[in-house]
């Protein structure tokens, strides 16, 4: 049975108009229709967070949202995070330096979660507890999380927040 729906979804600033089967979830739409394979699928039932993307700025599990539900919305994926000239975003840069990734399977989801956290904190510095709570929805089988938390602490934590504010760094 095919239950086609026409959708227009803006992904990383670019409008895409497609016909999708209504049962296709947003992650499969991104990966198979748009060939944006940076969004990963770990569990496909809402447990791992590998599929995290931003929809209208809010982090969501793209395996738990239908592509039709994203009709008319703005989606941001990992492909839209680094700048055009392939400069890593400060979050990606910090994760790299702190060994916040090994195999990288969870990393796109982690980056999207941290992006939302950065927006939500609105310049406020965050403690380790808040950072760990925000990251609790992203499972990582490699790092033991310490490197990820260290990267986030460098960017959002109290000690160095003044020098490493992500906004100023990305403009630099």
């Amino acid at each position: 049975m095919f239950d086609p729906r026409d959708v227009s979804i803006t992904v990383n600033g670019q409008l895409h108009e497609r016909r999708v089967d209504s049962r296709v979830h947003l992650a499969d739409f991104l990966r198979k229709d748009l060939l944006l394979t940076g969004t990963h699928l770990g569990c496909e039932h809402g447990v791992c967070g590998a599929c995290t993307v931003l929809v209208d700025g809010a982090s969501v599990r793209s395996c738990l949202m239908l592509a039709v539900q994203a009709d008319g919305r703005h989606v941001q994926t990992i492909e839209g995070v680094a700048t055009k000239d392939a400069q890593l975003h400060p979050i990606q840069d910090a994760l790299t330096r702190h060994h916040g990734l090994q195999c990288g399977y969870c990393t796109p989801g982690v980056v999207m979660t941290l992006l939302e956290l950065d927006g939500d904190r609105a310049g406020r510095t965050l403690g380790e507890d808040e950072i760990r709570a925000a990251l609790s929805g992203n499972l990582c089988r490699c790092t033991g999380y310490q490197g990820i938390v260290d990267a986030a602490l460098e960017l959002f934590g109290a000690d160095v927040a003044s020098q490493t504010n992500t906004k100023t760094r990305s403009q630099a």
């Binding site: 729906r5 982090s59 979660t113 609790s136």
Partner: protein, 291 residues
């Protein structure tokens, strides 16, 4: 896995949604999808029709009346988490929402979805139970109000009729010297609760307990009130003996058990969590007074 095939509907008004639910066979409401989408992907749910309420703006929002806070069924858990109105007038809900899933699921998950799904380990039904929330549902033959205590019918089952959808949930505002607390035990934060407890107590001018509400989650298919302890607390001065008496009532609760968490273990948790929650609620009642 991938979801099985279904026909998708996105009505734009409550009336259209109800008409669809009343006329389609084997239809299910899609709220935030944070349980149902997983069930579809795991193929433990197989509806022929999915009626998505996400395009009905009137189902979402937080409003205030003199005595209640009304939360639209499709209001996201994240909106509730961030609502100052709810923090001020219904702090138990704010307390509990921090335990509901992760930020990625709270961004999509809804109040109404969680209350209708009635997962035994879910937090929001326990709050609705403790606060005697009133549920407003609309169906083909009109709108009716259902007290939460009459709402659950069994495991993952509410008394909503096939054509009915939940429209909003009314929570009473706190008044007087009232304090509340929500505590739960699980293996990892944000998991479903093995046992959760919601407590709200009001003190009279003399410092004795005027009213107490105690509800547990995770121990039976639906949340349970501990009426015996509630009655016993009234008119007593809150002290260690009083808490011990309440905790004793919890040790005879009827609990479901499984291989991992037997009934005895859950009963112990009930007693321990209840004592801690009562202490916390009392401290908060002392700190605040609501007029």
């Amino acid at each position: 896995m991938k979801a099985p095939p279904f026909t998708y509907h996105a009505p734009q008004s409550i009336a259209d949604a109800v008409a669809l639910m009343g006329s389609l066979d084997n239809a299910r409401v899609l709220a935030g999808g944070q349980s149902l989408m997983a069930m579809l992907n795991l193929r433990v749910a197989g509806p022929d029709h999915l009626v998505d309420l996400g395009r009905i703006p009137e189902l979402s929002g937080i409003a205030e009346t003199e005595a209640t806070i009304s939360v639209g069924a499709m209001t996201t858990q994240r909106m509730v988490e961030r609502s100052e109105l709810i923090a001020r007038h219904c702090p138990l809900l704010t307390d509990a929402i921090a335990h509901v899933g992760h930020q990625q699921t709270r961004n999509r998950g809804t109040i109404g979805g969680s209350i209708c799904h009635l997962d035994p380990g879910a937090e929001l039904p326990v709050v609705a139970c403790a606060l005697d929330a009133e549920l407003i549902a609309t169906g083909v033959s009109g709108t009716r109000q259902i007290a939460f205590r009459d709402f659950p019918e069994g495991y993952l089952t509410s008394q909503l009729q096939p054509d009915e959808i939940l429209v909003r949930v009314d929570f009473p505002k706190v008044t007087g010297r009232t304090g509340s607390a929500f505590l739960e035990f699980n293996r990892r934060p944000a998991d479903f609760a093995i046992v959760s407890v919601a407590v709200q107590i009001t003190l009279d001018d003399g410092g004795s307990i005027a009213r107490a509400a105690i509800a547990f989650g995770g121990i039976q298919s639906a949340p349970v009130r501990l009426a015996e302890a509630e009655a016993l607390l009234v008119a007593r001065v809150p002290d260690v003996q009083t808490w011990d008496l309440a905790a004793q009532c919890a040790t005879v609760l009827d609990c479901d058990g499984d291989e991992l968490y037997p009934a005895d273990y859950r009963r112990d948790l009930c007693a321990v969590l209840l004592t801690r929650a009562l202490r916390k609620a009392l401290r908060r009642a002392g700190e605040r007074s609501h007029v």
